[in-house]
Symmetry: C2
Subunit: 407 residues, 2 copies
């Protein structure tokens, strides 16, 4: 009954899982993948918000081209069906071997597992009204909180990386799977919506997760240490999910997403002394500990001074300003990007697609970003090139569709 996979080999015993017997590690990994890497599309909330961060992102902002409310509803219904199938790792329904029509599914994710794909839909301020026009008879339903973000000092926003009527955030542990999802959704939208901008991203690999290490951003610093705990429902209800009474009922269970495309001046950073880098973030680079402390998760004390009477964690450090009075917390879910060379500067076009979720932008992201934009020492090394805000819709029940509560 008990056999190993041979000298030097690694055998896997499938405990009480019902599969029985020994498998090679590869086979076991496959079993694991097939059974464990699919995240249900239907639920109280959309996936991709409190979901454990996947390795890859394909993000797209779309503009609606149809003027018909009915067509938008139809689109959201079709998207719901497609998204549900793709998160299961299935080919889109209706794919056939009929030679005379284009395939329903573009096929590049065939043979690949669901890869923990999540697809998150949101609507921007322009979805409700554009140039003062009530586009789909929904103007009265626009939440007070869903307004274009205020202009922040030092913003260098470009239209080509900003705004959008709708967003689709596809996250997966395989970029081909994430790209496939957005591509097929855009395809379904033909005649109704077009891409406005799109961005790939990468981050926090399975490796870092497996090693229980906080992933690092492209400045080499750990990023996300003090994120709220996505496993605590009460914390998520307090900080992330829109609650009854917060605004219009249709968004209860949804969340506001802020997206900022932040280019990092990597070459400048790389010529900066370690001490300066650490004062900029307010943390030690190697350990991730707040300055003066030993461990990443030690509680920062923003009053402690060094032997020269200077604050140990400078008041203009990113950490100190982001913390502020400690009242604003957001759920960060950012991805790094590396888009080749920036022809304007001859440097890497790389940085962070900053994405965060919150219940209340005016009390969370906006005051935090105001402080950062004015004083953050990090501003010497970064520039905000794009900006958008979306109301991510509540989750969909089986049989329902995305945006059902809105229409």
């Amino acid at each position: 009954m008990l056999k190993t996979a041979g000298a030097g080999g690694i055998g896997v015993l499938m405990g009480a899982s019902g599969l029985g017997g020994f498998l090679s590690l590869t086979e076991a990994a496959e079993v694991k993948e097939q059974t464990k890497d699919s995240i249900p599309f239907y639920g109280n909330h959309q996936g991709g918000i409190t979901t454990g961060v996947q390795d890859n992102l394909y993000f797209a902002a779309l503009n609606i081209t149809t003027k018909s409310n009915t067509e938008v509803i139809q689109l959201f219904k079709e998207w719901t069906e497609a998204a549900e199938q793709m998160t299961k790792g299935e080919l889109l329904k209706g794919s056939s071997s009929n030679s005379f029509i284009p395939p329903k599914d573009t096929g590049e994710a065939a043979d690949l597992s669901p890869s923990n794909l999540t697809i998150t839909f949101g609507v921007g301020p322009d979805f409700f009204q554009k140039d003062g026009k009530d586009r789909f008879g929904l103007k009265a339903k626009q939440p007070e909180e869903l307004r274009d973000l205020p202009a922040f000092p030092l913003d260098a926003l470009e239209d080509t990386w900003s705004g959008g009527d709708i967003c689709i955030q596809a996250c997966a542990d395989d970029l081909q799977v994430a790209f496939h999802a957005v591509r097929n959704l855009v395809r379904i939208a033909r005649g109704k919506a077009v891409i406005h901008w799109a961005q790939t991203g990468f981050q926090r690999t399975k490796q870092a997760d497996a090693n229980k290490k906080t992933p690092r951003n492209l400045f080499g610093f750990k990023d996300g240490t003090i994120n709220p705990n996505v496993k605590k429902e009460s914390e998520m209800n307090e900080k992330v999910w829109v609650q009854p009474g917060d605004g219009p009922d249709w968004l209860v269970g949804g969340s506001y997403m802020v997206v900022r495309r932040i280019q990092m001046y990597i070459e400048v950073w790389d010529r900066t002394a370690l001490g300066e880098q650490e004062k900029t973030f307010g943390r030690h680079r190697d350990t991730g500990a707040p300055l003066g402390l030993k461990n990443e998760f030690d509680t920062a004390d923003f009053q402690v001074k060094d032997e020269h009477g200077q604050l140990m964690i400078p008041a203009d450090s990113h950490m100190s300003l982001a913390h502020g009075d400690g009242k604003q917390q957001i759920l960060r879910r950012a991805y790094s990007y590396a888009d080749g060379m920036d022809p304007k500067t001859g440097s890497f076009d790389a940085g962070l697609l900053f994405i965060c979720f919150q219940r209340n932008p005016s009390k969370q992201f906006i005051p935090m970003q105001k402080r950062l934009a004015q004083n953050d020492k990090l501003n010497e090394y970064i520039i905000h090139r794009g900006s958008a805000i979306f109301a991510c819709l509540p989750g969909v029940k089986d049989g329902g569709y995305i945006g059902e509560t809105l229409f």
Copy 2:
């Protein structure tokens, strides 16, 4: 002695590996990663050519700015040391906690495993002479085969995606690791070389490999079915590695790399009937089999006709033209790319960073591409935006340096 990881859990028995006892699947996977995902930098050939294809690519073409031969040699020596350390997953040597200097290593790959990182260096025609000028006294050593590729019909090449004095191809199962490698090498080159263009890529995931499936390109077709067998040394010597007598001795054991940035008109393709798509490639989409056959690896017969007397595999199909008289074979090692939206067209800027290796471009890639550029049915759906050729240097022995045989 024998215990499982609990009800429903998966325990791993470490056979005769000496580790003994049971580990969780995660733990076992970590052990495997730590011991198995480093590819030695030193060897007879460079890595990243016949190496099993990793998940991610960061490719950079650089231009040299120094005029000093000595400085170029110094750069290649420093690159060798750094590349060797990074492929081991180490921080660059000399990294210290000295606050007063910039860190030697930019840090974003700390905590990450080597991820099968390979770094492949090559030199382009301009490395030897530019505008007729013998730049480093090496003009006489320029191989006859290392010339700018001829202009092909339908080429729409852009300077921003073409050429380069030097290439660095970093491949890894983690994009952060690949990016980190190129970034640190570019950093080391400061004052001696600058980036000319760069491209991220993704492809053939671990998943597809584990399932023994040929990966698919962004048109949904299997790509790489008839690649030469990298495990057969004789085949590699015949088709990939430069042999004594082929040209200058300094390149023996190296290989010529051709790079083409091929944009795919995804939206047009997606509106094309399956039958047309299949006739374009010459294969069935789902199985990958040559048209009229059942299995992916069935041998194509380019003479077989259908009941209407038409060739089953059309003469202008990609497969038929690539095959030609069957005499040219190249080692393809391409990566897909998805760069967001193409502002010129409002479509996805996505496609293939085609990379291939060969012993002899004038007998391999060039005649093949001439046929394809003239008649390939696929040309309705793709456009070549970038082009470059490099002589990838021979492998480096421990203690030696990249390009040693050349200088």
